[in-house]
């Protein structure tokens, strides 16, 4: 090895050692500075900091905002916030937890299981975290705990707000409910609002409560408090008030809604009442209902299971989520499609012999013996199927479905409810895409009487009826105002349909309810200014085989409930100056004229009179049974009476 090279290596090695020692020196110096700082903070200023730590610990606490109140169109309260008296406990402050809990349970009656759960939760969390031990205490229990507070270390009585639905089940399908913040909620919504960390905070989980969560929730406030070494609040330094959520006023009329739910009760049914002029939804009922107050604190699984297994499906909103073959209530759309295409003369007749042969299939009319000669008006009034089979072959499915969509069927309507169904207005393309088969003429015939692939929700049928009645392209509206301000709605335009053709359809619908042979004649009203026009529908949920037809079709009453026909009715009133449109579905109710039309009539009459309708409106022969039914119904106490549900009385959501 060359000497010079060796020296070089030794040189650089020595230089490295020098630099390493410099680095080491720098590091040691820095450590001395750090140690000096420790000395300064922990020795010289220790007393100052200890004082700060003991007596002046500032704690920032979030204040929950009050959730916006929900009103009906006239100011009746549908959802508000009730004080919730509760007890929280801090393990650290309690000393012996079991002793304190034993003492507490001697003062107020506490649920054993819940107490154990609270105890477990307290033990599994850091000792300074407050845990709710009991809530929904009565005022008396709450006062007792407050008075005995000195004997209960670590126990704090406080008042929170909890959602309250004074009208209970009537609005479960509209207002929905709030519930506790769950992990699932946090995961699925990605919501990071700090307000969610407040214990027992409630968020909208369903229907309006969920869909308008943003406006109803409000913003958290905060307060700075001084806490002592034990974590007890010594004094409040300052606070910024929580910003209350916006109040929401719905277009629903609580009394009409109440009547509608009462009228549907006992059935598995849905009904929608709409203002034909502006689209306001005045009632949106679905039976059976359930009490939304059950959900507010997390529903017990036994109740949930009962609701879930009920064959009448109380949790489902039949008015917006339910999809049904519209049956004969679809016929107006078919007839209008034919009229608009100029394919038929309203006076031209078709012969109904009870059925029509198409290829090797026979399509039956609901009336086995046939209707004889039918024109447009009688075809609607008597709901002759063969007339529509004939029409449908001429018009074709594309024109029918285009007309259906123009009238809001098979179209998703934007209302702030959960799971609003889109429905189906089938086309050739639709069948190919969804069923993988080409469209055949038989499908068109089925569609012409609202069977086959056609599916609509009662909401869509109500929109259809409102548009037929008014000739306006009304969209359903559920929100009347938010914080007193009407939301922006597009101006309502006229439908692009020949008014003369619409008039013909209305004439037919008038005949249905008032004509001598009308299918809904039994559900007519008799006061001139309160007459109804409508259309019955009966939709099959099963196929009737040729063999059954030969042996005689089984009567609905003889079938098990879930295989009976659905009963439908759509209508509007007053017939000559339409103001209210309605659609009613009674699941497996049998015939539309027997099961659905009377319900629709009663609800329409209530809407027109804004009260329980007078007996004079009914045909004389029915007055006694109507009276009996109304007596048996449990309705809200009259508006303005002392026991009427709370209201702000102004008809607007905020004075």
């Amino acid at each position: 090895m060359a000497r010079s090279q060796k020296r070089k290596i030794e040189d650089s090695s020595a230089q490295l050692s020098r630099r390493a020692i410099v680095l080491g020196g720098l590091m040691t110096t820095t450590c001395l500075v750090l140690a000096g700082r420790m000395r300064y903070l922990q020795l010289e200023r220790a007393d100052d900091f200890r004082l700060l730590a003991e007596e002046n610990r500032i704690n920032l606490r979030l204040l929950p905002p009050a959730r916006g109140v929900i009103y009906d169109r006239k100011g009746t309260i549908l959802a508000d916030n009730a004080p919730n008296y509760r007890i929280t406990m801090v393990r650290e402050d309690a000393g012996d937890v079991d002793v304190v809990l034993a003492r507490l349970s001697r003062i107020v009656n506490l649920d054993r299981g819940k107490l154990d759960r609270a105890r477990d939760e307290m033990m599994s969390r850091p000792p300074f975290v407050p845990v709710t031990i009991a809530d929904r205490l009565t005022w008396e229990e709450f006062s007792l705990v407050s008075v005995n507070a000195p004997a209960l270390p670590g126990i704090t009585p406080d008042v929170g707000l909890s959602r309250n639905y004074p009208l209970g089940g009537d609005f479960s399908h509209v207002v929905g409910y709030v519930g506790p913040v769950s992990d699932y909620y946090l995961d699925t919504t990605g919501d990071t609002d700090p307000v969610l960390q407040i214990p027992d905070f409630q968020v909208g989980r369903y229907n309006v409560e969920a869909r308008l969560e943003d406006v109803l929730r409000g913003k958290a406030g905060s307060k700075r408090v001084e806490v002592n070494a034990a974590g007890r609040v010594m004094r409040e330094l300052d606070r910024s008030a929580a910003q209350q959520g916006a109040d929401v006023q719905l277009t629903i009329d609580a009394y009409l809604q109440n009547y509608a739910e009462a009228r549907l009760a006992g059935e598995s049914a849905g009904a929608v009442v709409m203002d034909t002029q502006n689209g306001d939804i005045l009632a949106l009922a679905s039976a059976p209902t359930y009490d939304p107050n059950l959900f507010v604190r997390g529903i017990p699984s036994s109740i949930w299971q009962t609701l879930n297994e009920d064959p009448y499906r109380p949790l489902a909103n039949k008015a917006t989520q339910g999809l049904y073959p519209p049956g004969s209530t679809y016929k107006m759309v078919v007839a209008l499609a034919a009229l608009e295409a100029g394919l038929i003369d309203p006076n031209e007749t078709v012969f109904c012999g009870g059925s029509m042969q198409l290829g090797n299939r026979r399509f039956h009319c609901w009336k086995r013996g046939g209707h004889g000669r039918m024109d447009l008006i009688q075809g609607l009034a008597q709901s002759c199927d063969v007339y529509y089979y004939d029409l449908a072959q001429r018009v074709g499915i594309e024109a029918i479905s285009a007309m259906a969509q123009k009238f809001g069927c098979g179209v998703r309507h934007e209302v702030p409810l959960s799971g609003v169904a889109t429905g189906i207005a089938p086309t050739m393309e639709w069948k190919l895409a969804n069923r993988g088969e080409p469209w055949v003429m038989g499908d068109t015939l089925n569609a012409s009487i609202g069977q086959g692939f056609v599916l609509n929700s009662p909401l869509q049928l109500a929109v259809m009826t409102a548009r037929l009645a008014s000739g306006l392209a009304v969209e359903p509206r559920l929100i009347r105002s938010i914080d007193g301000v009407e939301p922006h709605y597009d101006p309502i335009t006229s439908l692009d349909v020949n008014p003369a053709n619409l008039a013909k359809i209305r004439e037919g619908m008038f005949e249905v309810s008032n004509g001598e042979r009308g299918t809904a004649l039994n559900s007519r009203t008799v006061l001139e200014d309160y007459l109804i026009a409508g259309k019955t529908g009966t939709s099959q949920v099963r196929n009737i085989t040729a063999a059954e037809r030969a042996a005689g079709v089984i009567r609905n009453e003889d079938l098990p409930w879930e295989r009976r026909d659905h009963a439908l009715f759509v209508g509007y009133a007053p017939a000559h100056a339409p103001r209210y449109a309605i659609s009613v579905i009674v699941e497996h109710g049998g015939g539309g004229s027997a099961a659905a039309a009377p319900l629709a009539r009663d609800i329409l009459l209530y809407a027109m009179f804004d009260d329980v309708p007078p007996l004079e409106a009914y045909p004389a022969s029915q007055r006694r049974s109507v009276q009996e039914r109304h007596d048996a119904m449990q309705l809200l106490p009259r508006r303005g009476s002392t026991d009427a549900p709370p209201s702000n009385g102004t008809g607007t959501s905020r004075a």
Binding site: S13, L16, L23, L34, L52, N59, L60
Partner: protein, 379 residues
């Protein structure tokens, strides 16, 4: 005597390597880790969950990795230095585009059961690649401007990438850690003078960029610097951490409140009480005695690494050990300075104590390299 014979004769092999391990270093690292477990147990309110168990598992994995790395000859590690550096750069680029965003910054790579933070890896690979570079080039040319350029680029690429994440703490660590190796290699001191001057200029540039479109730091980072300069300006906002951290620290006094007796640090006043701010819990519960003891143990670890560097004649091993010592030092010095209000809150963990998987495992792996240098040193 040929060179290879010299190697065989002077280097331990097989199980004898275990004897040559730097056992005092192993002991000191375990002491620090145990302090960490105790503190994590305390901030969890006296519970092994959620932090102690995972941390202990990672410590076990990290220690195993350290032993395995120590057994492999240091020459091998010199050969793979470049590769390791390249891999960490690729990972850094990968998080830049596909990483998981956590706490407002993009730092993690989701690997299923655990998350990898490539910037932690980069802190070691930068030291390795620089040590390998200076072991390879002719020592006489090391201060020539052309030979200064490669290390400068090697340092600045990961610095730039971590700044973009944005992770100011790591960027500073990379810069200073890399700088320490270059300094130890014997590059002329004038460069460092120039660097410090330009560093000052860079700080000015960062502040000048504030509010403009090409702002170099995120708003929250600027706010942290503001409140570092004057914590009282926003005592419940960003200055809150610093104020509360100092109250907790100071209230510990000389001997502390006792294990599990801390009130400040466990009262949720501090947001990252199990990670960046864990030192406050230690200082509160064990006082000046505990805090300065930890500082002393840390300094001993650094000293052992420097001793390894001085006792080996392998230039790569020596520079590597120094670089790792410097990086480790930077970790705890920046963290302690930060919680004691001497440096802005930049997000550097307390090494081997703060909860966090990648940092712990990477550091233990790095000590494995020091051990390898120690075992395989030509004597």
């Amino acid at each position: 005597m040929s060179f290879s014979l010299y190697q065989i004769n002077t280097m331990p092999s097989g199980w004898r390597k275990v004897l040559y391990l730097n056992w005092p270093l192993v002991l000191l690292l375990s002491i620090v880790a145990c302090i960490g477990f105790m503190m994590l147990y305390s901030v969890a309110g006296g519970s092994m969950e959620p932090w102690v168990m995972p941390q202990a598992q990672r410590f076990a994995i990290g220690m195993t990795a350290m032993f395995v790395i120590a057994m492999i000859p240091i020459a091998f590690w010199r050969l793979v230095s470049g590769l390791g550096y390249a891999v960490s750069l690729i990972l850094l680029l990968y998080v830049e585009f596909f990483g998981t965003v956590g706490m407002g910054a993009q730092r993690w790579l989701d690997l299923g059961p655990f998350r990898l933070q490539p910037s932690e890896l980069a802190k070691i690979t930068i030291v390795m690649v620089l040590a390998a570079y200076y072991a390879r080039i002719d020592s006489a040319k090391k201060s020539h401007p052309i030979y200064i350029l490669p290390p400068l680029v090697l340092i600045l690429i990961p610095v730039f990438l971590t700044l973009k994440q944005p992770d100011l703490g790591t960027a500073v660590l990379l810069l200073l850690g890399g700088g320490a190796v270059v300094f130890a290699a014997g590059v002329h001191w004038a460069y460092f003078a120039a660097l410090i001057a330009s560093g000052g200029a860079a700080v000015l540039a960062v502040f000048a960029s504030r509010g403009t479109e090409w702002q170099l730091l995120k708003d929250y980072q600027f706010r942290r610097i503001d409140t570092f300069i004057d914590p009282t300006q926003d005592p419940l906002g960003a200055g809150y951490h610093i104020t509360q951290s100092q109250i907790a620290l100071g209230s510990g006094g000389f001997s502390g409140r006792g294990f599990m007796e801390g009130t400040q640090s466990r009262l949720n006043f501090l947001p990252e009480k199990h990670t960046d701010f864990i030192f406050t819990t230690l200082a509160e519960e064990f006082g000046f005695i505990g805090a300065s003891s930890l500082l002393f143990v840390y300094l001993l670890i650094v000293a052992l690494c420097i001793w390894t560097a001085l006792s080996t004649r392998d230039r790569f091993a020596s520079l590597l050990s120094l670089g790792i010592a410097a990086t480790f030092f930077l970790y705890f010095a920046i963290n302690m300075a930060m919680v004691m209000g001497l440096a802005p809150v930049v997000g550097v963990p307390l090494p081997l104590v703060s909860y966090g998987g990648t940092a712990m495992m990477v550091l233990l792996a790095a000590f494995g390299l020091v051990q390898s240098a120690h075992i395989h040193r030509p004597r």
